[in-house]
């Protein structure tokens, strides 16, 4: 059932030493169960190929629309979902082959912050207990854990009094800060941020983004930012990979991506973002909707919507084209050039 699909990724141009996370040909198929016997009657091909590497102390963004597979990639990186195929290396260690004590170490080093901070905090626990429990589970510190919790709260811009609040007594922005404090209490290296500001108002979103930036400057955390918000990507990420229907289509330093996107999908995505500045020129609109995730990707997944479609696009998955040493794209157009 698992036929061989060529897995191709960006060339390794960086030295392994600088790379914290390396993802190779990651794939996730979710089985669809049906019938009386609940047998597998099909698959949701959520992720077909995610390949990228994340350097230490950088912010790496995974961008895509709903159904692009970006959150599933995040879950696999957090070891919350096992991959169907492909490999994840953390500090050059194969994550799928970790022993149980190494797994515990991994769970400490890798933390995740979700979109909805209210859903990720226990409503019946004080923020203090939530944070202390995590430290206890990971056997950190001991008698001075409370002082650590206070220090973490100040680090994320809250104060000691907020430790004695229940989640419902905090505002959205404060809750997201509390979730962040909990993630930081185990001294992680790698933090997966899944739409961290999507549920926040803009005035508060800016505060949280700046907090993330300043924490990174001070403590050199590595972030994986999963989002659909391109303005946020431009604001805080160093490098970006764009995903479409479970496949990575373009990978580039963020600055270059916004200046010179090569893939027609990336271009369309950038053109679709509403700009808060009145303008008279009409936007180029992308037709159609993303394809059905219960069908395998056999050619370029963007074929149906691409304004520059060619016959070859519906025949084969495009190979990787190296635009320059740090910019890769998967599109037949760039192959032709």
């Amino acid at each position: 059932m698992m036929e061989a699909v060529s897995v191709s990724g960006p060339e390794k141009t960086e030295t392994e030493g600088n790379i914290l996370v390396r993802v190779e040909g990651l794939r996730k198929w979710f089985p669809i169960l049906g019938g009386v016997l609940q047998r597998t009657i099909g698959y949701v091909y959520a992720v077909e190929d995610a390949t990228f590497n994340i350097k230490s102390a950088e912010t790496f963004a995974l961008v895509g629309e709903s159904g692009s597979g970006k959150t599933t990639v995040g879950l696999m990186l957090a070891k919350l979902e096992p991959p169907t195929a492909g490999k994840i290396f953390f500090r050059a260690k194969d994550v799928s082959k970790l022993s149980s004590s190494e797994t515990k170490w991994y769970r400490k080093k890798v933390q995740m912050v979700f979109q909805d901070p209210y859903a990720s905090l226990n409503p019946r626990m004080l923020i203090k207990d939530t944070i202390l429990e995590v430290m206890k589970v990971h056997k950190i510190g001991g008698s001075n854990n409370y002082d650590r919790a206070v220090e973490l709260m100040t680090r994320v811009g809250l104060s000691e009094e907020h430790l004695y609040r229940y989640p419902h007594e905090l505002s959205g922005g404060q809750r997201q800060r509390a979730v962040l404090a909990r993630a930081l209490c185990v001294e992680p290296e790698f933090i997966i941020l899944d739409e961290p500001t999507a549920s926040l108002d803009v005035s508060v979103q800016a505060q949280v983004l700046d907090l993330l930036k300043s924490l990174q400057n001070e403590f050199h955390y590595t972030y994986l930012l999963i989002t659909h918000n391109l303005a946020v990507v431009r604001y805080i990420s160093d490098r970006t990979v764009v995903m479409y229907r479970g496949m990575w289509v373009e990978s580039s330093p963020t600055r270059e991506l916004f200046g010179r996107a090569e893939h027609p999908y990336t271009q369309a995505l950038l053109a679709s973002v509403p700009i808060p500045e009145p303008r008279s020129t009409a936007r180029e609109l992308l037709r159609g909707e993303p394809p059905n995730p219960t069908e395998r990707v056999k050619a370029c997944p963007f074929t149906d919507r691409c304004p520059y479609v060619m016959p070859i696009c519906s025949e084969k998955i495009p190979p990787v084209t190296q635009i320059n040493e740090s910019h890769q794209v998967r599109c037949w157009l760039t192959v032709k050039k």
Partner: protein, 335 residues
């Protein structure tokens, strides 16, 4: 130009166990015929409550504490329920954020659409012959679905809501909302749940239908980008008041109210590198509003008077702004 809607000093309170939540504290705004007004604001600013109040769909614990909603020469707040029923869903229709919760999951799209037409469209409802009537219903549905550029309209009409994608559902909502040629459409975060490429399609579609039928639209959204792309006029709300309203060109290029200025600065941009700056603090508790201007605890330019006196509604160059900085009677102001 004539105004389709004029809201004057609208006050809405919610009675809760915590006390009286003052959701709207004197909202005044106008919508001209054929105009798209963007109603912007953060969570709790009262933008959705304003939309619901116009349709008289406020929940049971809400009390209208004052004000007028003049629609087409009538005060909607004084109408009897039967009279309101003739306006709601016909002259004023709505498009909501999450169409999944507003479409009935157990009926096919055609049947839901049919109900709307039979209840509200007198012309179709008055056809005596059953077969002819059903045909008129089908024709109108297909016509509307074609107008919203629904792919394969005949097939979609036979589908259940769960068979439609998010973008198709929102097209369906637009088809239903425009099918009765309403004078005013209230679109509450119509594209918030959609991906950006689909959002662009739906906004473009809404704009073209609105122009075609000369419909007035109130677009409620927290996204200032969406307003800039879609609207001609913007009203910015804060703590239940419209604190700035005007033509989008002037408001975006030179926001007057410190809150509007802060919002514009807080917005990261996809089209350029910009340093963003959040607004410190958080929105006031609507149970215990601070005295004076509700924004003063967060305002970087707050003066002594802001802590005590409510700002007046000022009219400056065709713009409405509520801020002491622009009030010539206030001494020591530096606008």
């Amino acid at each position: 130009m004539s105004n389709v809607l004029e809201i004057e000093d609208l006050k809405v309170e919610f009675h809760t166990y915590r006390g009286i939540v003052k959701a709207l504290n004197g909202v005044s705004l106008t919508v001209e015929k054929g105009e798209v007004l963007g109603l912007a604001g953060e969570t709790g600013s009262g933008k959705s409550v304003t939309g619901l109040a116009i349709q008289r769909l406020l929940p049971g614990n809400a009390v209208i504490a004052g004000g007028k909603i003049m629609f087409d020469g009538k005060d909607l707040l004084k109408l009897k329920e039967e009279e309101m029923n003739k306006i709601r869903g016909k002259e004023v229709t709505a498009v909501f954020q999450d169409p999944h919760t507003y479409l009935n999951p157990v009926f096919r799209m055609r049947d839901q659409f049919r109900d709307i037409l039979l209840i509200n469209d007198r012309e179709i409802a008055s056809i005596k012959d059953k077969r002819e009537r059903e045909k008129a219903v089908d024709d109108r549905i297909i016509q509307m679905l074609t107008e919203v550029q629904m792919p394969a309209p005949e097939r979609v009409a036979k589908m259940f809501p769960h068979e439609l994608s998010g973008g198709m559902k929102q097209r369906m909502m637009l088809a239903m909302a425009f099918s009765l040629r309403p004078k005013l459409i209230i679109a509450d975060e119509p594209t918030t749940a959609l991906d950006v490429t689909i959002q662009a399609q739906v906004l473009e579609l809404m704009k073209s239908l609105q122009r075609k039928y000369d419909t007035s639209v109130i677009l409620i959204t927290h996204d200032l980008g969406v307003i800039a792309e879609t609207c001609r006029k913007i009203a910015v709300m804060y703590a239940g008041r419209v604190i700035e309203m005007g033509n989008i060109d002037s408001v975006y290029s030179k926001p007057l109210h410190p809150y509007t200025q802060g919002l514009m600065r807080a917005l990261p941009r996809a089209d350029k590198d910009l340093k963003v700056e959040g607004i410190g603090g958080s929105v006031p508790d609507l149970v215990e509003l601070p005295p004076g201007c509700p924004f003063h605890p967060r305002c970087p330019r707050a003066m002594e008077v802001c802590r005590k006196v409510n700002p007046k509604t000022l009219h400056i160059d065709g713009r409405v702004v509520e801020c002491h900085l622009y009030d010539e009677e206030i001494e020591g102001r530096v606008a």
